[in-house]
């Protein structure tokens, strides 16, 4: 396992080279600034990169998208990506929000500790440039996830209700989610949700938000980290991520060319046996 410092050094030389060779117009990553405060920064000169750091985890996909939105033509941004950043950017490319040509992704591995904090089953990007891939964590091994997702539905409904009732409708989850880019958002107006009125319409607000991300959520955890009420929002996504994996062998964010089964691959072959999918006619299960 490389030390943190070795990883930073490797990143610096790699990114410097990108800037020097003109591969990228700028680098987007974390910098330790004056007073030891770490924050995202756009590096345009190679020697600025001396202040580059890789920790702590800071979701960079959404701000990277915002930067690219207003960037002039020909601008190329190198983004220091953790696994989830890369996957989120892949989803944004698929959804036409980011121009793949204007993006250089530099992949950084997360540490094992970070993976167990995030309950991340893939704590590394598919294109890994810096560091070594740590082992992932199966979120379904986590007692908190089990508490909310496994067992009798009625009991769990009560648990979810208690948890979700804490929501103060601050929109932090929506705002921090890299995939949530709509303007206006359904959660901001009738007939879906009333704006500015609490208590939150729990079912409408939370299920609509969760479902919109059903096949795009990359389990980055940004929503959950942003929630002032400490609601385990990613757990809700895990339910659908599992269904996608088990039913359709699909996982969001792995490959720009991989198509989501929700929008593609419908029955095209009347000549083939068309067994009734076992999830239909659910009365029988």
């Amino acid at each position: 396992m490389k030390t943190q410092q070795a990883m930073i050094d490797q990143a610096k030389s790699l990114l410097k080279k990108l800037l020097e060779d003109g591969e990228a117009t700028a680098v987007f990553g974390l910098a330790r600034g004056m007073g030891g405060v770490t924050a995202p920064r756009i590096f345009t000169m190679p020697d600025e990169l001396d202040s580059l750091v890789l920790e702590p985890k800071w979701p960079l996909a959404k701000p990277a998208m915002e930067i690219l939105r207003t960037a002039p033509g020909g601008y190329r941004l190198a983004v220091v990506c953790r696994g989830c950043d890369e996957r989120a950017l892949v989803e944004l490319i698929k959804r036409n929000q980011v121009d793949a040509d204007a993006l250089v992704m530099v992949g950084v591995a997360c540490s094992g500790e970070q993976a167990s904090i995030c309950l991340c089953d893939r704590p590394y990007p598919s294109k890994l440039d810096i560091g070594e891939a740590a082992h992932g964590v199966d979120p379904f091994d986590d007692p908190g996830v089990k508490y909310l997702l496994e067992g009798d539905t009625h009991t769990r409904m009560g648990r979810w209700e208690r948890v979700l009732k804490r929501c103060v409708k601050c929109y932090g989850c929506r705002n921090s989610c890299p995939i949530c880019v709509c303007d206006p958002c359904k959660l901001e107006g009738e007939p879906w949700v009333r704006r500015g009125i609490i208590p939150t319409e729990i079912l409408s607000f939370h299920l609509i938000r969760a479902f919109h991300l059903a096949d795009t959520c990359v389990a980055c955890g940004a929503c959950q980290e942003a929630c002032p009420a400490g609601i385990p929002l990613v757990t809700l996504q895990h339910a659908m991520r599992r269904a996608l994996r088990e039913g359709f062998e699909y996982e969001a964010g792995l490959d720009v060319n991989e198509k989501t089964p929700v929008l593609f691959d419908f029955i095209q072959a009347p000549e083939k046996d068309r067994p009734i999918p076992d999830w239909i006619n659910t009365l029988r299960d």
Binding site: N96, D99, A102, V181, P184, K186, L263, Q268, P270, K272
Partner: protein, 568 residues
């Protein structure tokens, strides 16, 4: 707004025997949205649609009809209203007979409650329904036929006879397609070159047919009535503007590489190679063995290609014609000779002494011999005997597979292909139509067929195309997949669309295009609905995250309104 007129039909006391109409009436008259309530005994027989139409036509009037189910007379009343000038967004049907009175006859109180809710839902829907504007299109007169095999030739001939201008684009130097490679054509054993020559003469003499050879298609865009296809013909770049397109690009013969030592020992040939030998001259053989289903009805290609059995039987008899002492075996898994003519053809072959041996897929024949084939070993699946047959010719019957550029053509025109790459019809009841109106498929491009069937399909496609280009103009709402006109079109709010492309990906009719947002120079997209193609299925609005896509006639507010009032 007080703009909804309600008509309650009692259906000759069928409904009000269960449902309390007095309660409905008093409830409805109290509703601020209701302008008037009329109870009638039989809306469908009184011919009242015209009057209703007239009464709501002026201003922003809307009409709620409570009567029987759409399937009974409800849809009829709705269509009458359409004709009387009441468009879909101004009318709503509530089914109180099949959907209420007849199934809750044992519980009048609950039935009345339910009827009230259903009416309430209808009123709310009417409150929010909006119109999606229709468009009228001009239709180009010409029909484009791509491919000049039997299917394309038949389509072009039929169109020219109807007086329709037709432009034929053929990839090869000559018309004829696969039939041009065949020595004689089953089941009548005629020389196919006569048919091809007849078409060449017609194309040369009939001013309605324009024939281009050595064609490469560059691009295609447009929709029913207005397709623009750019292509090169003999190196020259040209453009066609057509009202309809018929795709008759045929298939391709599966090469038997890797099967039965093909290419390893001499005199193991494919059926199409045998046809070529026949065209050169007589083929004199003593012992010929045909092997059927080579690379067909197997795991990768589970389909029957339908042309290989008749082709083998045809050529088996041809070998006997050319050497009367020849012995011919056909090793098959099943002989597929459907229809009266082909079955008779099969009988004739048996009478002439062609020997049929059935082998099992699990135990296929083996080709023996060092340089050239000497014997074929086969286990007769019926008797169980293992037999060794002397052979100086083995013919491998392979299926037709999708053409090499089927994928490119499919993508150009937006038509779907089945799992084996053949073009797919929209659904089994519309055999030559595709999901794109104005694009028709025929012949082996959609499924392996004999030249005769290809021609029949070509003519069918021609008639569909003629019916379309025979009109000067057409409204987008007429391209409906259901009886009657479409009830609406999807509509996108360009200001709120994020360009995510969900709608374009999911649309089953390729009716949505993503475009760069104009002017801003930024990397943003916006979606646009091609109304002619949209069939109003609503898939796009179900995947649009922020409701930018709507079906005005049943928009989110109307739908949610109905949900909210379902038990009020």
């Amino acid at each position: 707004m007080k703009n909804i007129t309600v008509f309650l039909c009692t259906c000759f006391d069928e409904i009000n025997r269960v449902v309390d109409y007095e309660r409905l009436c008093s409830h409805l008259s109290d509703d601020p949205r209701v302008a008037a309530v009329t109870v009638s005994r039989g809306l469908c027989v009184s011919g009242g649609a015209g009057e209703i139409g007239a009464s709501v036509k002026s201003g922003d009037g809307r009409v709620l009809i409570a009567a029987c189910s759409p399937l009974a007379r409800g849809d009829q009343v709705m269509r009458d209203l359409e004709r009387a000038g009441v468009p879909a967004f101004r009318r709503h049907l509530v089914d109180l007979r099949e959907g209420c009175a007849w199934i809750h006859g044992n519980n009048p109180a609950a039935a009345t409650e339910k009827a009230l809710d259903l009416l309430n839902m209808g009123l709310t829907a009417l409150e929010y329904k909006e119109p999606s504007a229709d468009v009228t299109l001009k239709i180009a007169d010409e029909v484009l036929v791509i491919g000049a095999g039997p299917a394309g030739m038949a389509a072009a001939t039929a169109l020219a006879r109807c007086g329709v201008d037709v432009r034929v684009l053929e990839r090869g130097a000559q018309p004829g397609g696969m039939l041009g490679l065949v020595s004689r054509s089953y089941p009548d054993n005629t020389d196919p070159s006569e048919k091809i020559a007849a078409f060449r003469d017609l194309a040369a003499s009939d001013p309605r047919i324009t024939f281009h050879s050595k064609v490469k298609i560059i691009s295609a865009r447009g929709y029913a009535g207005n397709f623009t296809v750019r292509f090169t013909a003999e190196g020259e770049e040209l453009q066609a503007h057509a009202g309809a397109v018929i795709i008759a690009t045929g298939g391709r013969v599966f090469p038997p590489k890797g099967y039965y030592r093909y290419g390893e020992v001499r005199e193991v040939v494919s059926q199409i190679e045998l046809e070529a030998r026949f065209r050169k001259g007589p083929v004199k053989k003593e012992n010929a063995v045909f092997i059927q289903c080579v690379g067909a009805r197997c795991e990768e290609r589970p389909y029957c290609s339908t042309i290989c059995c008749p082709a083998s039987i045809k050529n088996a008899m041809r070998i006997m014609d050319e050497n009367e002492n020849a012995r011919v075996w056909i090793l098959h898994r099943d002989i597929m000779m459907p229809g009266t003519t082909l079955e008779a053809y099969y009988k004739k072959a048996m009478e002439r002494g062609v020997r049929f041996i059935r082998y099992a897929e699990s135990d296929p024949p083996r080709i023996l011999g060092d340089e050239a084939v000497e014997t074929v070993e086969v286990r007769d699946d019926i008797t169980g005997d293992r037999r060794t047959i002397p052979a100086d010719l083995v013919v491998l019957s392979t299926p037709l597979i999708a053409g090499t550029d089927a994928e490119a053509i499919g993508d150009l025109f937006g038509i779907q292909r089945d799992s084996y790459g053949f073009f797919r019809e929209i659904y089994p009841l519309h055999p030559v139509e595709t999901r794109i109106d104005g694009v028709y498929i025929c012949g082996s491009a959609r499924w392996p067929v004999s030249s005769e069937q290809a021609m029949v399909q070509g003519e069918a496609a021609a008639m569909k195309a003629a019916a379309l280009v025979g009109r000067q103009t057409i409204r987008a709402s007429e391209f409906s997949r259901v009886p009657g006109a479409k009830f609406g079109h999807a509509r996108v709010n360009e200001d709120t669309c994020s360009g995510c492309g969900n709608c374009a990906a999911v649309c089953s009719f390729d009716a949505i295009r993503l475009q760069r947002r104009s002017g801003e120079g930024e990397f943003r997209m916006v979606s646009r609905v091609i109304k002619v193609r949209c069939k109003a299925c609503g898939n796009c609005l179900s995947v649009c995250p922020n409701g930018s896509m709507q079906m005005p006639e049943m928009n989110t507010k109307a739908l949610y309104g109905m949900v909210g009032k379902a038990f009020s």
